[in-house]
Amino acid sequence: MSFKSVQVIWMKELKAYFNSPIAYIITSLFLALSGLSFALSITGRFPEASMRGFLFGPIGPIGAFFLIVLIAPLLTMRLFAEEQKLGTLELLLTAPLRDIEIVLGKFFAALSLLTAMFCLTLYFPLLLYWFGDPDLLPILTGYLGLFLMGAMGISVGLFSSSLTSNQIVSAVVATATLLLLWLSNVTSTLGDGELPWASLVRFLAMSEHVRDMAYGVIDSRDIVYFISLTAFFLFLTVRAVETRRWK
């Protein structure tokens, strides 16, 4: 695998984001909603100098973590679907590139844009330091959690985009999948938590794995969970692109 080839696709996709309004719209949406949850969490009745309100949200689940469920599919929906619609996938697949280089290039492009969005929220912790005395560790692990969950969200979205030439279908499938993965921990309370698959289903929930990180705890199980599922969905994407060749 050559990094140069990955880079060619990566840069092309990054440029494409900023050539269309999509990057600006999604970034504004993310900043507005996460800013709202941050503002609400530090101006409530019992304000605390922490990022937990920003990450998990004071109103329902609408914090930065949950926003990934909504935003990752919007960032990834066009990555393969549009290539298929325009016929340019044929161009990529007949270029001297390996399928995995194409997939990784697109993955890194979406991930770097998402990471840039997270970086735009870095003034929240600065405000906390200005007016209060927050713990550093939960802030760092919180951002690590955002990055890891973002990577997974993008791999799910990328896979969904590789299955269709319709961007809407891609976005809906990815959002539904991520929503299920976010909410699947609630099913463990069904039947008094004694259903045979309850612990597995609970383990698959993203929300369970980011919780500890928001409190400053790094558990290797959480890291392994995100990295292995991200790799799994990227692997599925490569296979899906491969099967495009057979059609």
């Binding site: 140069k4 080839s5 060619v8 092309k12 494409a16 050539n19 269309s20 325009l86 016929g87 340019t88 996938l89 044929e90 161009l91 990529l92 697949l93 007949t94 270029a95 001297p96 590139l97 390996r98 060749r245 057979w246 059609k247």
Partner: protein, 313 residues
Amino acid sequence: MIEAKNLTKFYGDYPAIENVSFTAEDGEVIGFLGPNGAGKTTTMRILTGFTPATSGTAVIAGYDIQSNSLEARGSIGYLPETVPLYTDMTVREYLKFMGSLKKMDGKKIQSRIGDVVDLCRLEEYADSMIGKLSKGYRQRVGIAQAILHEPPVLVLDEPTIGIDPRQVVETRQIIKSLGGDHTVILSTHILPEVSMICDRVLIIDQGQIVAMDKTENLSSKLGDVTQIIMNVQGPATEITRVIEQVSGVKNVSFTDAGGHNQFIIECDPAEDLRTELTRLTVEHGWGLEEIRTGGLSLEDIFLRLTTSEETEK
């Protein structure tokens, strides 16, 4: 150089192509001719590495398309049937991206972009958004990206389809000028195009090669008949009888086209019989409404060709 050996591709149980074998020498322009669905695109997709063959293989510029896929793909410039363009890029940005996809270095890309923009006459539009270009110019951008990295082999799928006649002529000139430096394979279902551009013709029908020959030989096979179409007012049976007696006439068929007697006369292309036929109608006092030569329709020619080749076998 291209060497295809027994390429076969099945979609489910349906064979898209079966045992397609051929070779193309350096600098040769080969035309794939066949009706829609004959397997031209499938063959090209296999050669370019877009789709794997069910069995058989091909060697492109010394690289096997299966065991050395990346090198083989790097030796090909490919223009698919639907020209694959990013509509939100300018022509220059697009060519630059294609150059880096083909692993050219930055300096080389810049100088080659200048060359291909000249060659494909895209100067005026080099900085326009591709989405705003007309179909003909998009086709040229497609050709420009195919030749950008100076590949030894060019594969062009229906390069002149859907563009206006003047641009068709220009596009053909561009392709013709590419032969010599490149081995070119192009597919078409427009017969005259083949005789204009190609050195050799490969006729595909229902997934199989039915004929492979030099263009001149093919033209002479086809060229033994031309048609004259006449609309004449007068007694149909007598007119038919008189025309049949003219030397050089091979066959006369009569149709009553909306009250006009239309005669389709197949004759020897060596002599132009129009003068003689006109003289005869005037002599007999019939009303000549129209006289013109007509080529055989593509369907006629194709039918003629495939059936005659089969009987020769």
